[in-house]
Symmetry: C2
Subunit: 372 residues, 2 copies
């Protein structure tokens, strides 16, 4: 294998595949990136066995191909090496069988490599009729939901994001059982058969970083895996196999309190009230509603207390006190794209719903915390 | 104590004094910042007992003074609290004796405080005739030397920076015994009496951050402490009391090799060669000189090797190989302000000197490392 390529072209490819490399990985060959130069171009593949990313840099994007072939290059230094090369044009050449020479006129790296035949054979299959969603739409879906997954392995299924395709609807849910994010979008083409999958949250977060614009994403669903095709990237993730909890009954349809509040003012007030609770487990703040006056406060015995006042619009003049995690509230508010948001409540022990004023597609739910 | 002040004014003062707060401190009162509102203005004081910083915000910079007084406010959240306040005008008011209320129209923090009388009495004395140096000049002196101090407590004196005032000359030296940085500047006014002090490196680094422009710094030297006066900041540091080693004989006056090289090319070549040695103790690279050809290489058995070529100007065609720490070399190069630098060498076991082409005031020395 010997070729000459522009720094930016190879860097973009490496930046995408390297997201599959896991620091926890113990299989030596999976610390490497597979380089495969074929007639159609250069394939880069990286995998942590649960996530595999493969990129094709087409031959027209390669400045010069001297001879085809392949090798596994250690991933640890490769990004820094390429990024720091003193020229915009870089040469790659396999030498002495299992070494790669990466060089320009005045410098060269010789890196020990592994044999390409030692790389596991990961099948990246595609369907005839994938589900298609616009890139930026899919990126938004991920950003509005994935933060709500559980980070604890106690209930592994909650570390994933639930995707439910039904006719021309996609419902995406993430929950850690204390809060929940739910997003609905309409698909341009209905799915042939309803299907529900749970994708590991950490993998879907890597996919989010690869999506940069509105170009379509193809979603190819299989029994125990899903493959996303975006531009020249194949992104294949395993699926979580447990049943995802039924969350459809969690969200009330009627509310005693419908509060309209400025997103920025509410966000900043919570942020300030949360300051004194930093470093504590739950970052609890208390919200008191009375007519159009909202008071948010928190208290840390050693440090002091903080009180924030806001004016809101409301349908209910009765006083209500409710406590919740400021961290959860800030993360939920962040997903809202409008200047004003709705807080929907029933009582101090019932779920608190955060919604956009006009956009019905997104619902954030937070369970209150009992304080005495 | 009750006053109203602009957010930026109080923030700047707090940002300066908070540099004296140490995370290692165990004396509760020294975790606080002393606020003292007097006729002439608001004094802020912070100290870790070895370093004390005191700032005066003059009364003309305070929007409204209701009543004078003082209190000790915990430093932990104060910067974030002030920074996040929703208005540019902030009120401070002592309430219930030992609490401070920090508030605007719609929000308020009530923080537990300590009694101002519990604050240790740190004397900040000044001399009649301080030594005077321009702020930016002094900032440069620090940046060109302090990185070379020792971070190990084995020889405490080497964790300081040596300042030697002699007539109208100031010589500043820092060394960890493997490398040395030396800077000389001319003083506008000769000192009355020659004096030599060693200032703890960590303190002098904080001083560097406080200096923002060319306004003069006054240096007031006492037996066991030094006070810097810069704008409205008093910055007082303890001194290290051991004798600083005599380093004047370390720097050769004649050199077998005088090499001229582009600062950027040399820096980047070392940086690339160092990549494969990252995470290793010494980051050793080898430099081979032969006529106008310089080769820099390094080798990491598990990973591979790297070789960089440069063209240099030289007075000596004889071949020389010398190994050194790439980390030390990169830090030394960084202090040079010209596009071309000089490398002065005698042999592979003698100190390597890095100098600017025309500026004689700065010398960086690095000891070679023996490799076999």
């Amino acid at each position: 294998m010997k070729f000459t390529i522009e720094k930016n072209v190879i860097l973009e490819g490496l930046n995408n595949v390297i997201r599959a490399i896991s620091t926890k990985n113990v299989i030596p060959v999976l610390n490497g990136i597979k380089f495969e130069l074929k007639e159609e171009g250069l394939y880069l593949t990286a995998s942590d066995s649960e996530l595999t990313i493969k990129v094709l840099i087409e031959s027209k994007e390669i400045k010069q191909v001297h001879n085809l072939g392949g090798i596994i290059i250690q991933s640890k230094y490769i990004l820094d090496i390429v990024r720091k090369m003193p020229s915009d044009i870089i040469n790659f050449e396999v030498i002495d069988g299992l070494k790669i020479k990466i060089y320009t006129d005045n410098n060269q790296y010789n890196l020990n490599c592994l044999d390409i035949n030692d790389y596991p054979d990961v099948k990246l299959e595609v369907n005839k009729d994938p589900i298609i969603i616009e890139g930026t739409v899919f990126k938004t879906i991920i950003n509005q939901t994935v933060f709500a997954i559980s980070t604890q392995e106690l209930r592994p299924i909650l570390t994933g994001v639930n995707f439910k395709f039904s006719k021309n609807n996609l419902e995406v849910v993430a929950t850690d059982s204390y809060r929940l994010a739910k997003k609905n979008i309409k698909l341009e083409t209905p799915v042939e058969k309803d299907v529900e999958i749970v994708i590991p949250g950490k993998n879907i977060m890597e996919l989010e970083k690869i999506i940069t614009d509105e170009e379509n994403i193809e979603i190819h669903i299989f029994n125990n895996k899903v493959l996303f095709k975006y531009k020249n990237v194949h992104f294949q993730s395993n699926l979580l196999s447990d049943n995802y909890p039924n969350t459809s009954n969690l969200i009330p349809s009627e509310f005693a309190y419908i509060i309209k509040v400025s997103k920025k003012d509410f966000n900043d007030a919570i942020d300030r009230a949360a300051l004194l609770t930093l470093g504590k487990d739950k970052n609890i703040v208390k919200m008191t509603l009375e007519n159009t006056k909202m008071v948010i406060n928190s208290y840390a015995s050693e440090i002091g207390k903080v009180e924030e006042q806001l004016t809101v619009e409301t349908n209910n003049k009765e006083k209500l006190e409710i406590s919740f995690s400021s961290k959860y509230m800030l993360e939920a508010i962040k997903t809202m794209q409008e200047e004003e948001i709705l807080l929907l409540l029933n009582s101090d022990v019932k779920p608190l719903i955060i919604k956009s004023l006009t956009d019905e597609s997104l619902i954030q739910l937070i369970l209150p915390i009992k304080t005495y």
